[in-house]
């Protein structure tokens, strides 16, 4: 049985990227359907931290995209806007325990002041550590940033979907698609669907549909605590991130007491503790040694952490690309088929901006230069094939 449905655009993948595209496109008056193999926020968007950060991004395209998205997030979080109550700004803290990390903080401070980013350096506590209570002996330096933000991937996904009015179909798995001159035909587990335009926002699932794209999984262990604390718990004003994250990949091969760690206080009073960056992996692939490495480093930075209880641990899977940049734009040789994937560890922060820009592509208005730079055209030498 095949259904013949006509939409202006169909979006495959109801993660934060697909949901944001759906909302932005619907606002432009397009008739949208969004399909997902399991349901909203079923993959990375439901299994990640929600830092909307500029400071930790590589200078260049990624930093300027992050900056643009951060200020756009703030607009969308205004009264009566879609991300109101979902996106928040809050202070965040980067800390250093060894010289290499302290130097990374120096470079960061210089860069932030140079570029006049919307992120201010509040306090560089070379001598004092009082801005964050309860830090371990080994923490030598803390940098306090204001203006960075946070939103939970699943809350943003939900908000975009609810407000979009787009037609949601799940569970509905996309198996193949064809671009014809009369539009795009999708073959799904629940039948055939047709639309003028089609967006693939299927995260890691994209590899099954376009096997030649240079996409790879980079999983990360996430550790969630319960809410219970004793009287001696030092209430954290914002997330604590070790500067090891700013070091390049080789320098990150640190002993476990210094492993990269983020301790992120959630609105519920729980903590989200992350995260590793492992090659490959699936959500089921939890790893005690990796989790212990993160926790050892966490306890060394914040000793009271030892007295919190873990209630959930899982591996989130980031979709990384060969060159480290997301892939966004129309597919070469496949008119009206657009791709938005490969956001690795940045998709939460970038989703609002990417949604807006991809919606512009769908209506033919076009997109900003930094987003055009992410076009899949850059892989044209490698064959990009569809099934």
């Amino acid at each position: 049985m095949s259904r013949n449905l006509q939409y202006d655009a169909i979006i495959a993948g109801a993660g934060i990227i697909g949901a944001s595209i759906a909302w932005h496109a619907a606002r432009k008056g397009l008739k949208i359907a969004i399909i997902d193999a399991s349901g909203p926020a079923a993959a990375a968007s439901g299994a990640s931290d929600g830092a909307v950060s500029v400071a930790t991004k590589r200078p260049g395209v990624m930093a300027s995209l992050a900056r643009a998205s951060l200020s756009y997030c703030a607009d969308l979080a205004e009264q009566a806007q879609v991300l109101n109550g979902v996106f928040h700004t809050r202070p965040s803290y980067l800390f250093a325990r060894i010289d290499a990390e302290a130097e990374a903080l120096d470079r960061l401070t210089a860069m932030l002041t140079d570029q006049g980013l919307p992120v201010d350096v509040m306090r560089d506590g070379v001598a004092e550590k009082s801005s964050v209570p309860g830090l371990g002996e080994s923490v030598a330096r803390v940098l306090e940033l204001s203006g960075e933000g946070h939103m939970l991937g699943y809350e943003a996904t939900r908000a975009f979907l609810e407000e979009s009015g787009a037609e949601g179909h799940w569970p509905c798995r996309l198996d193949a698609f064809e671009a014809t001159k009369d539009g795009v035909i999708l073959h799904t587990s629940t039948g055939e669907m047709r639309a003028d335009r089609f967006v693939l926002a299927t995260g890691m699932g994209t590899t099954n549909l376009l096997p030649d794209l240079p996409l790879m999984a980079r999983s990360g262990q996430l550790i969630i605590t319960d809410r219970a604390v004793g009287n001696d718990w030092p209430d954290l004003p914002g997330p604590l991130t070790s500067a090891a994250y700013l070091l390049d990949k080789t320098a990150q091969a640190l002993p476990e007491t210094l492993a990269p760690v983020v301790i992120d206080p959630l609105a519920t009073g729980q903590l989200l503790i992350g995260s590793s960056r492992e090659g490959g992996g699936t959500e089921e692939q939890t790893d005690f040694h990796m989790a212990r490495r993160i926790l050892i480093s966490g306890v060394a930075s914040l000793p009271a952490l030892a007295r919190r209880r873990v209630i959930r641990v899982f591996a989130g899977v980031r979709t990384a690309t060969g060159d480290g940049f997301p892939i966004v734009g129309e597919l070469p040789d496949m008119p009206n088929v657009f791709l938005a994937t490969g956001f690795e560890g940045d998709g939460i922060g970038l989703a609002p901006l990417i949604g807006r820009e991809v919606a512009g592509m769908l209506t033919g208005e076009g997109a900003m230069a930094e987003v055009n730079a992410l076009s899949p055209m850059r892989f044209t030498r490698q064959k990009v094939a569809s099934q």
């Binding site: 349901g39 926020a41 609810e162 605590t225 476990e256 005690f288 641990v313």
Partner: protein, 434 residues
């Protein structure tokens, strides 16, 4: 690695009998139990000075003797929890003796969990599960103070009632949602050992003149002047009863949370964790699963007769029909403010407020917060699944992930690494507590 051991989680009848069978076949076994002593739920021991005879003392002795005979091959750790298995097959054990190791296989004998249906007032102090009253009675040897009501359904109501009576503290009343005494035919066909035990319970209760009100449900509980005021419904007749303690019980379900399929080693459930069939079946099932593991490992296994297991299974089916009732239908009539999940403070109204976007197993958890609290959904997910069945066909998902129970970060780090993949824990990071 020839000296690798088999992990048995739970030192109840299923776990202990499995461990004994494995040890008899020459295997080395590690048994962990989160409780302070072995015995599991039914053979929980009196830990205080009280010298009153224990219930089931003979059965318990027999089981413990079989295990004691294999002491060199069985390592038992109490007050020690199994926290999970990672995908490489490492088992994390925390508590009194914490360690990380690679077992050859895992037998999950974690027993059952009690089902307690939410209703207004079920979160008041003094309202507990029937099992909590029973464990307390067994381990402290002392019944609670005040007037006790027992309510819900299932044979456990009568077991507790009789045990309290024998301990000198007959319950004030038993409310049974079902009509167990209207099934003489099914009752007569129960196996002798179950019939004898049940008759003993009922006779004890009758002699002590304990009122047993069948077909009666507790609609709500309120706190009034330091006591609990219960509103009951008996076929449309409403009554109010005042007591000090209320034990609620709406059946048993497998405690198979976090039971993980593992790509590297076999993980098999035994006893109530596999199928809630009671203590006699649990012993047999332990033997059976041990033999299954031995077969999988390619070692000679004893032949296990399944006859008695099947008898117990038939008996449990009969008991279910005897205790069948439509109590759960009440769920749809629960007032909006009724708490469904106390860990995350989620009520019936919160569930009703969820939208179409939230109606997927994953979103019911992420946005609905059902199953996301510290009890990991053990006390709300069954009911949320029933309440959302119409919209979704299935309830919130119950991902099989670690930890099986909340675990202190200090305990995760203090577990000694015997996995052969040593993580070096520096002194500064190692946590000490008394």
């Amino acid at each position: 690695m020839t000296d690798r051991r088999i992990l048995v989680v739970g030192a109840g009848p299923a776990g202990l009998s499995a461990a004994a069978t494995l040890a008899q076949a020459g295997q080395r076994v590690v048994v962990v139990d989160q409780a302070p002593q072995i015995g599991g739920t039914v053979y929980a021991q009196n830990r205080t000075g009280d010298t009153r005879p224990l219930s089931h003392a003979k059965e318990r002795r027999a089981l413990f003797d079989v295990v004691a005979a294999q002491r060199e091959r069985i390592d038992i750790h109490c007050s020690t929890s199994f926290v999970g298995l990672d995908y490489q097959g490492n088992a994390l054990i925390t508590g009194a003796d914490g360690f990380l190791f690679q077992p050859k296989a895992v037998i999950m004998a974690t027993g059952a969990r009690e089902l307690v249906q939410p209703r207004p007032g079920w979160t008041l102090p003094g309202v507990t599960s029937v099992g909590a009253l029973q464990v307390d009675l067994k381990t402290a040897g002392r019944p609670p103070e005040g007037r006790i009501a027992i309510a819900g359904s299932g044979s456990l109501l009568y077991a507790l009632g009789a045990q309290l009576t024998r301990a000198g503290k007959a319950p004030a009343v038993i409310f049974d949602a079902a009509h167990p005494f209207l099934h003489p035919l099914a009752t007569a066909r129960l196996p002798l050992h179950i019939l004898q035990e049940a008759t003993g319970f009922i006779l004890t209760l009758i002699r002590a003149r304990v009122p047993i009100l069948s077909g009666t449900r507790i609609l709500s509980v309120e706190e009034k002047k330091g006591a609990l005021s219960l509103k009951t419904n008996h076929g449309g007749r409403f009554r109010t009863v005042e007591v000090d303690r209320l034990g609620l019980h709406d059946g048993l379900a497998r405690n198979d949370y976090g039971l993980q399929k593992n790509p590297t080693i076999p993980v098999i459930a035994a006893g109530d964790c596999r199928d809630v069939l009671g203590r006699f079946a649990a012993v047999k099932d332990g033997n059976r699963v041990a033999a299954e593991i031995l077969n999988l490992l390619g070692t000679p296994a004893p032949g296990i007769s399944l006859t008695s297991l099947n008898t117990e299974k038939a008996a449990q089916r009969r008991l279910k029909s005897i205790f069948a009732h439509d109590g759960c239908n009440d769920l749809n009539d629960l007032p909006d403010e009724t708490i469904l999940c106390r860990c995350e403070n989620r009520s019936v109204a919160d569930l009703k407020a969820l939208t179409a976007t939230d109606q997927t197993p994953r979103m019911l958890r992420l946005n609905g917060r059902f199953g996301m609290g510290a009890c990991q959904g053990r006390f709300c997910l069954d009911w949320v699944a029933k309440l959302t069945a119409a919209e979704m066909g299935s309830g919130p998902s119950r991902p099989q992930r670690w930890p099986l129970r909340p675990v202190l970060i200090a305990e995760i780090l203090n577990a000694a690494d015997h996995s052969g993949n040593e993580t070096h824990i520096e002194e500064s990071a190692k946590c000490t507590f008394r």
